[in-house]
Structures are given as structure tokens and as C-alpha cells.
């Protein structure tokens, strides 16, 4: 096996590329690179072909989901078996998915148990409240990898699974400790299989916001909280002692995105938005709108505001480059159609967006 094949197979740990994602154009360029051996060029050509086929499968799966939603709306209320939930242990390496954890729900590893329990909770949240059958609404198995890398201060969704770091023990602790973080990551999967938002500019900010909105809503639902009792914080339970000592209580605060107690304060008005902003920054604007709408409506966030946001997310097919204004207007019209006898709901939603400049 030559160096490039080792990289492609993920066995070249010198290069640290064991979960390599190479853009298709680069794969194609390497496949034509005469400086590489014929064997290596063939490996890259095969990888490029495989990548293309994999993308077709993903697109077909997303299309099937949307078609099912259009043609078989009764599926939404048909009882379905819960999706399979598996947890893998990376053992501080970076190869995904890692080693399968048997019976994670009763594991002595608290991280494995939390990853399993919270993932099962998110699946139940979507099934119970919105009739959604897993991330893709077609029963997709839910895979989580834990103990990723060493003192890794992050959690992410890579297009097909969740991955959680342990935190460095100073700024952050284990990322599975926060149920809203688990809800946030899984919701990236829901967005991928519905509105299909990109990850740049306004659509990127919306994408992040939707994950915060449903992550926070999941947390409130688990606690059976009304909106006025919720803290609206994102990532409260992953704050480490070094962050808490300095007065930081969360990553973001949906009720006050610019607050000093946030590790990453955000803008609150659309007038502060500019292209190129990190999605985790621009998401403050739609986050604040959701908070304002939910608070004005009152009660439990998932009963009205949540239903409106979910329908705006999943009811219209993909719109990868959707603007914040277009999403705002969609929630206004969905509010009117879902709650025709309660005009105050539409007014609350509309006023919330207007307050943030949309």
C-alpha cells in the first residue's frame, strides 16, 4: 500500500487524515496527476466515482423522504418503530465511527449512556410532537461517536452521524452532558433532509438557528417547561470550571443573544448582519425572533411556535439558499394557516420578526 492509498484508507496516522474528506475536484485532479503511480491514480479515480455515487444515493434518499411527505401524509401519524440507535467509542482517536459499544443504554461509561439516552429522547421528541420518523423521516438509524480525539472542545454532525468530544475539562466538559447540544446536532440532520439549508451567509445562520431552536425546545420538552420558566441557554451543561469562574454560563442565550455571560455573543438585529459571518454568530438574529414569538404566545414552546417553525422547516421541500426574510415570511403564513382561529399567534410571530428587523 503506498502513501496515498494509506491516506485514502484512513490508515496513515502520520498524516492524521483518518477521517479524510477530500473535495471531489481534488480527487479527480489526483486521478490525473502523472506524478503519482498508476495504482494511486486509479485509487483516486475510484474514490471520485464512489463519492459521486454516494452523493446520488443521498440525494435520492432526501427526494424519497420529501415525496413520501407529499404523497403519504398519513405516514406522519402512523405508529412506527423507533430508529435504531448505536453508540461507538473513538477511544480518543479520530477514526469514525470507532468501536461499537454494546448495550450503551446500560453502559458503565456515563458518556455512552448519555449519548444513547439523549439521542433516544430526541428521536421521541420528533416522533411524538411532529410525527417525524427519525432524522430523515424514513427511519434512519442514529449513530453517535463519543470520546472523539483528545480533550476535544466540540461536537459535530458530519452528514451521517453525530460526534462528541470530551472537552478539555477547563473551558468545556463532556459535550454529551447538554441535552440541547444533542438536540442541536441531530437537528442538523433534520435540516439536511428537509429544507437542506447551506452553511454560509443567511442560510447558514438559519441552519444554526434551527438547531438551537429545536435543541432548546427539546430541553424544555424534557423538563416539561413553559417558556417563561425556561432559561433559553445553549450549552449551559458543557461549561467547564475555567469558563464558569470567569462568569460565562453558556455558549449562547436565545433570550439575550448579545449578553456578556455568553462565550460567543451574537447580533440581535438584522441590520448587524453581513455576508461571511460565521453561522454561529448570525444565528442570534433568528434565535431572538423565535424566543420573542414563543414568549409572546406563551405556554409551551412546542405547542405553537415549535409547530410553526417545524412546518416552515419541513413542509416546503429544499431551499438551500433561503434568506432570513423568506423564512420569516414563511413562518408568518404558516402561523396563519396552522392557527386560523388564533390570529394572536400570527401577530406574535410577525411582531417577533419585525422586532429583529425582518
Amino acid at each position: 500500500m503506498n502513501d496515498w492509498q494509506k491516506i485514502m484508507s484512513g490508515s496513515d496516522h502520520r498524516c492524521g487524515c483518518s477521517c479524510f474528506i477530500i473535495p471531489p475536484k481534488v480527487l479527480e485532479r489526483f486521478s490525473r496527476d502523472k506524478k503519482l503511480s498508476a495504482e494511486a491514480r486509479k485509487a483516486f479515480a475510484n474514490a471520485a466515482r464512489f463519492d459521486k455515487e454516494l452523493r446520488k444515493v443521498r440525494e435520492a434518499k432526501a427526494k424519497l423522504t420529501l415525496t413520501a411527505m407529499e404523497l403519504l401524509p398519513s405516514l406522519a401519524v402512523t405508529p412506527v418503530a423507533p430508529p435504531s440507535i448505536t453508540v461507538y467509542n473513538c477511544n480518543n482517536g479520530v477514526s469514525l465511527p470507532g468501536t461499537l459499544v454494546s448495550n450503551p443504554g446500560s453502559s458503565s461509561d456515563a458518556t455512552a449512556k448519555r449519548a444513547f439516552v439523549e439521542t433516544r429522547g430526541v428521536a421521541k421528541f420528533y416522533r411524538t410532537l411532529f410525527g417525524r420518523n427519525s432524522i430523515d423521516n424514513a427511519g434512519m438509524g442514529l449513530i453517535s461517536s463519543i470520546h472523539f480525539s483528545v480533550k476535544y472542545n466540540n461536537a459535530f454532525w458530519n452528514g451521517s452521524q453525530m460526534t462528541y468530544g470530551d472537552g478539555d475539562g477547563n473551558i468545556f466538559v463532556d459535550f454529551t452532558r447538554a441535552d440541547d447540544v444533542v438536540g442541536h446536532e441531530l437537528t442538523h440532520g433534520v435540516t439536511q433532509h428537509s429544507l437542506g439549508l447551506s452553511y454560509v451567509n443567511q442560510a447558514g445562520g438559519l441552519n444554526e438557528s434551527i438547531s438551537d431552536v429545536f435543541g432548546s425546545m427539546f430541553r424544555q420538552w424534557q423538563a416539561n417547561q413553559k417558556v417563561n420558566k425556561a432559561d433559553w441557554l445553549i450549552g449551559k451543561e458543557i461549561m467547564g470550571p475555567g469558563a464558569i469562574t470567569r462568569g460565562f454560563t453558556c455558549l449562547r442565550d436565545m433570550s439575550n443573544p448579545a449578553a456578556a455571560h455568553c462565550l460567543a455573543p451574537q447580533p440581535t438585529k438584522f441590520s448587524q448582519y453581513h455576508n461571511g459571518m460565521d453561522p454561529h454568530e448570525s444565528s442570534g438574529i433568528p434565535n431572538f425572533a423565535f424566543y420573542k414569538a414563543a414568549m409572546a404566545i406563551g405556554g409551551k414552546s412546542w405547542l405553537a411556535a415549535g409547530k410553526i417553525w417545524y412546518q416552515a422547516l419541513t413542509g416546503f421541500g429544499p431551499s438551500p439558499n433561503m434568506s432570513m426574510k423568506a423564512f420569516a415570511n414563511r413562518t408568518r403564513s404558516v402561523a396563519a394557516s396552522l392557527f386560523p382561529a388564533k390570529p394572536a399567534v400570527k401577530t406574535a410571530v410577525s411582531n417577533a420578526w419585525t422586532a429583529v428587523g425582518l
Partner: protein
């Protein structure tokens, strides 16, 4: 001696954002990289391709800067493409 300046940005916590209190930075001597890693870094700088269709969300990105005879060059690449020695050079901090 040639060095790479590295900053890790993004992630669910929003490292390196304009208002963020989180920073993750490091510096690596090119000579500390293995031959394979140096080759990987060169490929990253030579490639203008971006993984536009990636479904990675909350993943880290790395802003890597180097000085060359042609001036300062900076690239932003996904974590998956970054050699281990560079990834290991970073220190996360609250500012």
C-alpha cells in the same frame, strides 16, 4: 525558519468569531512536520477547491497562514484535511 500560523475556527461554540471569547491558535515549524504532512500542506495551499457540498455542520475549520517568496498566503480548510501535527499545535483559550 519557515512557520505556519494556525487558527481553529467555528465548531458548535463558534471559536474565533467576531464577538467570541474563544480562541484556538498555534504555530508550527515546517521542519516539525513529516514529509507526508508537508506534502499534504502543500496540496492544501495549491488547491483552490472548496468542499462546497459537504454536509459537515459545527465542524472546525483551520485558517493556516505561511510566508512564501510571493508573500503571505492564507487558506481555510476543514479539520479533516489538516495533518495531525498541526491539529496538535493548538491551544484553546478564553480571551
Amino acid at each position: 525558519m519557515a512557520k505556519l500560523q494556525v487558527e481553529r475556527i467555528g465548531g458548535i461554540a463558534g471559536f474565533g468569531g467576531a464577538g467570541s471569547h474563544l480562541r484556538s491558535r498555534g504555530e508550527v515549524e515546517l521542519t516539525d512536520l513529516s514529509a507526508a504532512e508537508q506534502q499534504a500542506v502543500d496540496s492544501l495551499f495549491q488547491s483552490q477547491d472548496k468542499p462546497k457540498s459537504s454536509q459537515m455542520r459545527d465542524g472546525f475549520q483551520y485558517r493556516i497562514t505561511r510566508n512564501t517568496a510571493n508573500g503571505v498566503e492564507t487558506i481555510v480548510v476543514p479539520e479533516e484535511a489538516v495533518p495531525a501535527t498541526i491539529r496538535g499545535s493548538l491551544k484553546d483559550e478564553i480571551i
